[in-house]
Homo-oligomer: 353 residues x 2
Amino acid sequence: MVHRIGINALMDEMIERLTSAFVAYDPDETIIPARAGFQYDRPDIGLLEWMPAMQTGSAVTVKMVGYHPRNPSVKHLPTILSTISIYDTASGHLVGLADATFLTALRTGATSAIASKFMASPRSSVIGLIGAGAQAVTQLHALDRVFSLKKVMVYDSDPAISDSFLERTSFQGLNVVQVNKNSLNDLLQNSDIICTATSVDIGDGPVFEDTTTQPWLHINAVGSDFPGKTEIPKSLLQRSLVCPDFPEQAKNEGECQQLSAAEIGPSLVELIRDREKYAYITEIPTVFDSTGWALEDQVAADMLINFARQFNLGTTIQIESVSSDPRNPYQFAVDKNYSIPVSEFARHKNLEA
Amino acid sequence: MVHRIGINALMDEMIERLTSAFVAYDPDETIIPARAGFQYDRPDIGLLEWMPAMQTGSAVTVKMVGYHPRNPSVKHLPTILSTISIYDTASGHLVGLADATFLTALRTGATSAIASKFMASPRSSVIGLIGAGAQAVTQLHALDRVFSLKKVMVYDSDPAISDSFLERTSFQGLNVVQVNKNSLNDLLQNSDIICTATSVDIGDGPVFEDTTTQPWLHINAVGSDFPGKTEIPKSLLQRSLVCPDFPEQAKNEGECQQLSAAEIGPSLVELIRDREKYAYITEIPTVFDSTGWALEDQVAADMLINFARQFNLGTTIQIESVSSDPRNPYQFAVDKNYSIPVSEFARHKNLEA
């Protein structure tokens, strides 16, 4: 898909679809429970979570997301590995399965760009990235699509990672050219927008000390997605308007863990819907508490399916032995001449072709 | 797999593996949250649930199970459609995906056979089936592997379904030959073991009235798996020892919904572990409250993976664009010469070959 339409068009489409979904979001029609999962320290520190979402009357998506902070150094794999499945609520059938590792990075970047559009100064041109891993690449790319960037300042606790960031963002399509490795202090004092996307250990946050910043500083706090894991100093949160993506989840896993209910601002959806009321916030300190919302994954999966159909991409796989008699689970087992029927998905594709 | 080893050997293996798993079950090592899901009445009445289980240190399985009671009549599909995914907790990678429609019927039958072995009279030879759909086929098959059956009595509220049951159980491998359509009363009064597997609507239970039964009657209550959905008369439950598969879940979704905590007996696992203490129960009325436990699905998935490797079955699919740099999600997008690497699963297979 990226080779067909280009990485910029894909990001733009993601931003557009997410903005529409946030505006249209109706909690009576789109049912999104707080995610749940398994945390463990064997065989290594990690987390596997399921993020279900239902569009009533049509589909359920379930994203499985793994967070394994030692993946890059020990296994040469991304910290976040993920897959997404789409189910037809008319029958219960699985109709699609896709990798969601790239999709998660894409939609997380796109959501930060949307939050920044409504929360950051429209004149923002200096971006600071704290944590320069995989997520930082899409954070920068998405912001680059929405703002006229002049300068990117990069900090990572591992100098090798901030060093390699320059190469990782040398892809065709990025407009900003000046990407520099900076001191944390420099970055904090001069950025218009900061994105934090670190693998800080539980209880080891914040990842920087509060200091003098631009009065309109907007932060996209991306890395906080685990009970006890936070990145932003509490005093900075308290002097900022903090808007969560998914309030119930952010109180458990996000920066909102550090705040009382009264200290938490409107959700991103509320902000976008009542944008005139909140127009003033682009000039004050703000934080978008991005824990990752299953609605974003559903929108991303929809986009994927749409492009897959448009470009005739993807593969039909047959995993089911469908009996001609739905009440006979053994039909395929007893009939040696039983032939594997076309799958539901294949039929869908044929219908559309 | 069925064509390789035969349906009887597969059922025997399932029963053996499940028995071992129940004996070995350690809630500190195998983490099984109560299932959750979406219930809806659009586009039709239905339910999609996720059933996760973690074997700490190795794998997570997540079964997605759909319950759509109008599937057979409206869509010519089974009521229960399901898929199961296996994730490696070392990395977060999806390592396997399989249909679980057949697997669910298989493990549900096998579990009833195990429960009956410990709860029913060892001389049981007359089986009554209330509800003669897909699940009844595997209930009967599993019981046939464990007991010397003489007679099967079948009842379904839809006569066409009990009529077709005879044909559906004419497969090679079943020992019992006498399968008759019976009146509900006949069935209730003469059965040693009854299996209920109906799609009774919420609030419309029980599916029969309490009456005089064999003093040692054992019931496998299979169909109750939804808040408000129950099949067995409360008075019969109250005069029986009721053993749930998964107590927390059975209280919400099973026959145990009708009982107070004091009226609920030991779980199947407790029963099997302390079999001498509970030896007497084979001569009294008993009910196995089978809501369906994610442990059973994990054991079934293990068996599937094991046979897939043994017989070199299954297909390797590539759903992931793995970058050689785990911190660069865009590598495949910018490098036109990027080639799709062998998947983790393929590597696993190579290692074992």
